[in-house]
């Protein structure tokens, strides 16, 4: 070993550099940089893609100091539960300081990927004007910008290849942002504006598509009518990923016939989504491409109901990734199970958001899928009810789960048959799926399930808990057992100070811990913060639940703690206290 190390050090840095080029995963690179000082040094100059899972764990200056050749930055901002309205809007996660710092330092930024961050128009304008080689902007679940910011990107980024907007909250300013792409722009490979609510200029869109011969991925918003879709497809038969706009038309019209013909020529389409507005009679036009699809997202298509859905899916034999609504029903899932033998990832979202129980899926659908789809490794399943027996069967059928997220619509519902807690079912899952990395549990659960998780989920990295457990023991089992745990988020569960303070060193090995509506008190949080200077312990104090000089015994409603190298952040709003 010693000889080997000496030999490796003997290699000139260029060789190491070349070797490290083959390392794309940031985890591999992080590992490599810990070997010795010279490897650290070579690695840091060669890293072009930097991934930062918590934008407050570090600051722009430190990142740029370490990775001066950075070309691609990925940042995540708000905690995951912000998706469900548990985090106030102005909590933080601003991207501007990062863009500003990179602009100042003459970074040759080409790619920016943000998730759950606040992006202002100002940031977008600065981004567009500061980086001449900027190629790729991917925004997921972000907010704070308008179509004016997009117009800035379109106008200024001459070599833009990718503009991918996924589920963002964007204000529409009716400024014709899409028309801002100059006639000289021909470099687009991916354009996704499905989340925008406003109109775009159809003629501009059609011309843009016509001149971007490398366009592979195009996802339209619902303002784009079917006849425009038809014209676009004629211009771009090379598409591999299509998101339809408004899929509404008279099925007997000439336009529809033209669409059918156009679609038939799009033999490269592997991924399909959209159908927010849909006339089901127009669906047969897409059947020809269904046979080649590997990814299908109908989770925003409530207009396609069960029968039509089943008809559609029966054509999709090669599907690997399927996102649907629970209108598919258990029967529909049976069709999926018998048709989609290549299925790897399934997400079943609830269609009925106001709780009046119409269509829903149950444990039967899940069991059918597990029996029929041997390659299944990732599932998100919102269901009406569940049983231990079903989960045990699923665990036996599919030992390859990497992600297992089950959400019962009633968060504390017991086993539908035996009325027992669902501990045994989830226990079977973690025992059987040795590679499980992400788990969300729901239903009636006691401390027992956490004992199982602590014992068996050795590779678990992210765990989401809601309305579960009986006592501190539950949380302790998890903290003690899951050695690779990175993110733990808990809401409405009876875990308190004993669990929180039992192993405070653990939190430096994790990215973050979220606890809301639990039993932790102000005093305990304060004590934790005092002992661990490299953690930021934030209390979100909305509605002034805690007065200026709070009592140590007062319960904390929302606590978010995360490891950081740079101390308390300076952009926290008034109601966020970093202890």
């Amino acid at each position: 070993m010693c000889l080997f190390q000496c030999m490796m050090n003997y290699f000139p840095e260029e060789v190491l550099d070349h070797v490290f080029d083959f390392l794309s995963s940031h985890r591999d690179r992080n590992a490599v940089s810990l070997v010795c000082k010279s490897w650290y040094s070579v690695e840091r100059f060669s890293r072009e893609k930097v991934f930062i899972g918590n934008c407050y764990a570090v600051n722009p200056e430190r990142v740029l100091a370490r990775f001066p050749r950075i070309r691609s930055l990925t940042l995540k901002g708000k905690p995951h539960f912000a998706d469900f309205n548990l985090v106030p809007h102005d909590w933080g996660g601003h991207v501007y300081p990062w863009i500003e710092a990179m602009a100042k330092n003459g970074i040759n930024l080409e790619e920016l990927r943000l998730k759950r961050m606040v992006v202002s128009d100002e940031s977008l304008e600065l981004l567009a004007k500061s980086f001449p080689n900027f190629k790729s902007l991917v925004l997921v679940s972000c907010e704070g910008f308008t179509t004016d910011g997009l117009a800035a990107i379109a106008s200024n980024c001459r070599y833009l290849r990718e503009l991918d907007l996924q589920e963002n909250d964007v204000d529409d300013r009716k400024g014709q942002w899409l028309s801002c792409f100059p006639e000289s722009c021909t470099s687009l490979v991916s354009l996704n504006f499905a989340c925008l609510k406003g109109e775009v200029n159809m003629a501009a869109l059609e011309r843009l598509v016509a001149r971007c011969r490398n366009l592979r991925s195009l996802r339209l918003n619902h303002a784009v009518p079917l006849d425009s879709l038809q014209k676009i497809l004629v211009q771009a038969p090379q598409l591999t990923d299509l998101g339809t706009g408004s899929y509404v038309h008279e099925p007997d019209s000439e336009t529809y016939i033209k669409l059918k013909n156009a679609i038939q020529k799009c033999t490269s389409i592997r991924s399909l989504s959209g159908f927010l507005d849909v006339h089901v009679q127009c669906l047969p036009a897409i059947y020809p491409i269904c046979t080649n699809l590997t990814s299908l997202n109908l989770s925003y298509a409530p207009g396609i109901y069960s029968n039509e859905l089943m008809k559609l899916i029966s054509h999709c034999m090669k599907i690997e990734r399927l996102w649907i609504l629970d209108t598919i029903g258990d029967t529909g899932l049976g069709v999926v199970a018998s048709t989609c033998k290549e299925l790897q990832e399934l997400r079943v979202f609830p269609s009925d958001l106001y709780g009046v129980g119409n269509a829903a899926v149950t444990e039967e659908g899940l069991v059918a899928i597990s029996a029929g789809c041997p390659k299944l490794n990732s599932i998100l399943y919102f269901c009406q009810q569940m049983t231990n027996a079903a989960l045990i069967t699923v665990a036996k059928n599919c030992p390859n789960f990497i992600r297992f997220r089950l959400c019962t619509l009633n968060p504390t519902i017991p086993d539908a048959v035996t009325n027992l807690p669902l501990d045994e079912g989830f226990g079977a899952i973690v025992k059987s799926c040795k590679g499980l990395k992400r788990l969300s549990v729901s239903g009636l659960l006691t401390d027992q399930v956490f004992l199982y998780i602590g014992m068996y989920a050795e590779h678990l990295e992210m765990l989401s808990i809601a309305f579960a457990g009986d006592s501190d023991k539950g949380m302790l089992y998890v903290l003690n057992g899951c050695k690779k745990l990175k993110k733990l988020e808990i809401r409405d569960s009876p875990f308190g100070n004993v669990a929180l303070l039992a192993d405070i060193g653990k939190y430096e090995t994790m990215r973050s811990l979220w606890m809301s509506s639990c039993e932790v008190t102000y005093g305990a949080c304060k004590s934790l913060a005092e002992k661990m200077p490299r953690l930021n312990v934030e209390i979100i104090n909305e509605g002034d639940q805690i007065e200026a000089s709070p009592d140590a015994r007062q319960r904390v409603e929302k606590m978010y703690l995360y490891r950081t190298l740079v101390g308390p952040r300076r952009d926290a709003p008034d109601y966020v206290w970093t202890l």
Binding site: P302, V356, P414, F467
Partner: protein
């Protein structure tokens, strides 16, 4: 608008459909077996055999409650009408019945479930934002989608609640009328007692009733907002009914108030017709007496059917183009796609149409 009426006559089923996004409370009588005719105008005691323990609620109290409850009140979003809540609580007790999709689960305090509060207060926020005070009572009444959390395991095995035909709730905020017609079945105290018992036997450390349950089920707001807008659009713009309920108003000439039916629960004209007959039977023969029973003797379904099929009444509907059309001409699917409201017209209003209508009705329905 006619005031909502709370019939106190004993019923074996009490159904309340919840529209989280609108202010109205609708009651749809099911077309299942054992449906009793309703004494809409009766404010009297229940003489039915089903309601053996109803006498706990004093007579005048009930009358008072009725009067209060018949007040039409529209609350601003977020406003509460506590009086009304307790009114509902005492009157609307849920009988545990599989067919009953929206049993009203009184919480420990006897205050009616959050959903009731939501509806009554005219709160138009989405369900997730308005869920208040979830019941800790343990019961096997758990309607699908009714996100009241049970603190502990139910006592009896929970039957699989498939989405049977029944109450489907319209997501869109279309209805402007406020109709509540809630039939109590009487045993308010009984079920309260049984609930308390169940509470006692199930100790669980689930969190106490929270003021609000935000963020459950965990769906991104973007998705929630997008789907909510879409259902609305699908219903209005396309003219195609989206999945879910399709409630339309049914008016009858001479009736003091309208009803609502979910067209999706029927698959033929005949079913719709019989349902409407049952719903409107009491109006056809003059005023119902103060007691339920005598009225029922006077009235019979066949008599109503004769009337409907006779020259007196014609069933019509208003379509997308706001034209009044005769029910029965087009295939059922097309009908429900274009029907916006129904009207049982008096023959005298449908003059010229009626005689031929009679023929058509006799043939089609």
């Amino acid at each position: 608008m006619s005031p909502p009426l709370l019939g106190v006559e004993g019923q074996s089923q009490c159904n309340v459909s919840l529209m989280a996004s609108s202010a109205s409370v609708d009651c749809v009588s099911q077309t299942g077996p054992g449906l009793k005719e309703n004494n809409y105008l009766g404010l009297s005691d229940c003489s039915s055999v089903d309601s053996s323990t109803v006498s706990d609620v004093p007579e005048e109290n009930k009358k008072n409650l009725n009067l209060k409850a018949t007040e039409l009140r529209l609350g601003l979003p977020g406003s509460q009408s506590p009086e009304r809540d307790s009114t509902f609580a005492l009157q609307c007790s849920g009988k545990i019945d599989e067919k009953q999709l929206f049993p009203l689960v009184p919480s420990k305090d006897g205050i009616c479930s959050l959903s009731q509060k939501t509806v009554v207060s005219g709160n138009k926020r989405g369900f997730a934002d308005t869920v208040e005070g979830f019941s800790e009572s343990k019961s096997s009444i758990f309607s699908e989608g009714n996100w009241m959390f049970n603190a502990a395991a139910s006592e009896s095995g929970q039957p699989k609640l498939a989405g049977n035909a029944g109450i489907n709730v319209m997501l869109a905020n279309r209805s402007s009328g406020t109709q509540s017609s809630i039939k109590t079945e009487g045993p308010a105290k009984a079920s309260q007692e049984s609930n308390v018992k169940m509470n006692g036997s199930n100790t669980n450390s689930a969190p106490a009733a929270k003021a609000q349950v935000v963020g459950w089920p965990p769906i991104r707001s973007f998705r929630k907002n997008t789907l909510a807008t879409t259902s609305k659009n699908n219903d209005e713009v396309d003219g195609k009914p989206g999945p879910g309920a399709l409630f339309v108003k049914v008016s009858m000439d001479g009736a003091p108030y309208l009803r609502k039916v979910d067209l999706r629960t029927y698959s033929t004209y005949k079913e719709l017709s019989s349902a409407l007959e049952k719903m409107f039977s009491c109006f056809t023969i003059g005023q119902c007496g103060p007691q339920g029973a005598p009225s029922r003797e006077m009235l019979s379904e066949t008599k109503l059917r004769d009337l409907l099929h006779g020259s007196e009444y014609v069933l019509t509907y208003e379509d997308k183009d706001a034209d009044w059309m005769l029910v029965g001409d087009v295939p059922w699917e097309m009908f429900i796609a274009s029907c916006k409201r129904l009207k049982i017209m008096k023959g005298s209003d449908a003059i010229g149409l009626a005689p031929r209508a009679v023929e058509k009705n006799k043939n089609r329905i």
